[in-house]
Amino acid sequence: MKRRDWWVIGCYAVVAVFLAWVLVPILTVVLNSVKSPPDIFSATPRLAFTPTGDNFAKVLGELRFQDYLVNSTLVALGSTALSIAVGVPAAYALARLPIRGREWWAWLILFTRMVPAVALVVPMFVIFQSVSLLGTYAALVAAHTTFNLPIVIWMMRSFFEELPPDLEEAAQVDGTGRFGAFLRVALPLTTPALAATGVLCLLFSWNEFLFALVLSGRDTQTVPIGVASFIGTVSVDWGGSSAAAVLAMVPVFVLGLAAQRFLVRGLTFGAVKG
């Protein structure tokens, strides 16, 4: 074989090894979730075992993990809806409309991406406590909007700017006005991008831990809090906590793969088009 062929084979091998490193931890937990304790707590890794549904039955039965799933879904949907409703018009305004101090506003929104959650969670705790919102869904939706809204504005702005302006100008000549051009031309053209942005917001909210840890109450705890509490108190129950982790990961994988093309853009605040 030629040297070039060896090079390519080497590249495939490198990727294969890396994929193994990525997948083994995930597969281990997936396997643990369908193993009974003797198969988990063995001296050597066991691949031949009889799968069991006990762990899932327990997690969705006496441990009521579905409550966490419902809470996470409500908070994620609420924060995503709010961020999109408020953020998409703002993104269009920043991309297309004459605004005084446009660059300054854009910079302010970039600044909000830098604000660490831990700097917000301390004052938020005190503020929400004083207005009796601590432990409510509203508090969590508000907290998650602090990272989702800037993402929506920044991403949608980059998508609106990529549209050819002629279409919107033509619509304005037809008499629909600038808002009509936004509603009837720009928005339909960016629907796939909007869907991907929404998916990213759901993902970020679903995974968020610190705000949920501090601001949620007993009845509003989200999935990461549920999983973390498993690690703390029932740490001997590897099967149960693994089943909970699997339940938490499945929606993430579906959402993440759906938004795959835009994931990097969302994570880098539009800096990388990907």
């Binding site: 063995s42 409309l97 959650a117 700097a119 969670v121 793969l257 795959q260 990097v264």
Partner: protein, 298 residues
């Protein structure tokens, strides 16, 4: 005249569309930050709720500057950032370059590679907690098969806890680096590779002379986002070590959390949170200025 009216309505519409978002950001981000900055000038513990807040001036900040825990936390964070981001960049570059050579299965490989970075950090922590369990973790089991001594409690060991956390970070975030660097490599013009192959350059030379220089902007973006996000790391450390053993894995975010919600020392916690904010913004601004100079960011 007509065009002037048009312009004014455009501007009015622009403000009406931007306004709600700005108000929301103001209420949710700026107000809490200002509130935090204001209350950081008070000595105020939630434990004695009846006591009035006492004005303390800059006392919380002078305490912060002399606080050995803050110094340890910042040093830990620097070690963590440099080691984790350094490894992620090297590993990410190698894998991205290898992916670049693949003609079959690249889409599938890409989809699988991104899994760690979309998993919640809490779940990542759970995966590694079990993998590195001294008795029944996969690592201990495999080491046992080869007769190596088992029972290494990675996260409970003074010297191994921080490296173990760095390994977890590398697992979770190298995919992010790969995807960004790979995107940069894909945007290199084909003619550059053709010219190189006409000169008979080897693949390694192409890698060093063409691909590496071409993705410098992407490398800088990786540095910006990984530094910014690693500095404020909380979730995995909270779940895996809670900053211990001792202060071996203490981070500034964790210390702020504990000051506020375990010791209920709110005035000091707010000073710490302002300290995090200011340092993150300062470091990010330096990066962003560099990126703007190279026209990577607007």
């Amino acid at each position: 005249m007509a065009s002037r009216t048009r312009r004014r309505t455009g501007r009015g519409l622009g403000h009406a569309m931007l306004g709600p978002a700005l108000l929301l950001l103001l209420a949710l981000i700026i107000v809490p930050l200002v509130y935090s900055a204001g209350l950081s000038a008070y000595s105020w513990k939630l434990t004695d709720i009846d006591l009035p807040k006492q004005f303390a001036g800059l006392a919380n900040y002078t305490r912060l500057l002399g606080d050995p825990t803050v110094r340890t936390a910042v040093l830990n964070t620097i070690v963590y950032v440099v080691a984790a981001v350094g490894c992620e960049l090297v590993l990410g570059f190698v894998i991205a370059a290898a992916l670049f050579e693949m003609t079959k299965g690249r889409r599938l490989a890409n989809a699988l590679i991104l899994l760690p970075m979309i998993i919640a950090p809490v779940i990542t922590a759970l995966l590694w907690r079990y993998l590195l369990d001294p008795q029944f973790g996969l690592v201990a089991q495999v080491m046992g098969v080869f007769g190596a001594p088992s029972g290494i409690g990675w996260f409970g060991d003074q010297h191994l806890a921080l490296p173990a956390l760095i390994v977890v970070d590398i697992w979770q975030w190298t995919p992010f680096v790969i995807l960004i660097l790979h995107a940069g490599m894909l945007s290199i013009g084909q003619e550059q590779f053709e010219a190189a192959s006409m000169d008979g350059a080897s693949r390694l030379v192409v890698l060093r002379r063409i691909m590496l220089p071409a993705i410098v902007p992407q490398i800088m973006i990786v540095l910006l986002f990984r530094t910014m996000d690693t500095y404020r790391i909380f979730d995995t450390v909270f779940v895996l070590t809670k900053g211990g053993p001792g202060l071996a894995t203490e981070t500034i975010g964790l210390y702020t959390y504990r000051t506020g919600f375990s010791y209920f020392d709110m005035g000091y916690a707010m000073a710490l949170s302002i300290f995090i904010l200011v340092t993150v913004v300062l470091v990010s601004s330096v990066y962003i200025r560099l990126l703007r100079r190279r026209e990577v960011l607007r």
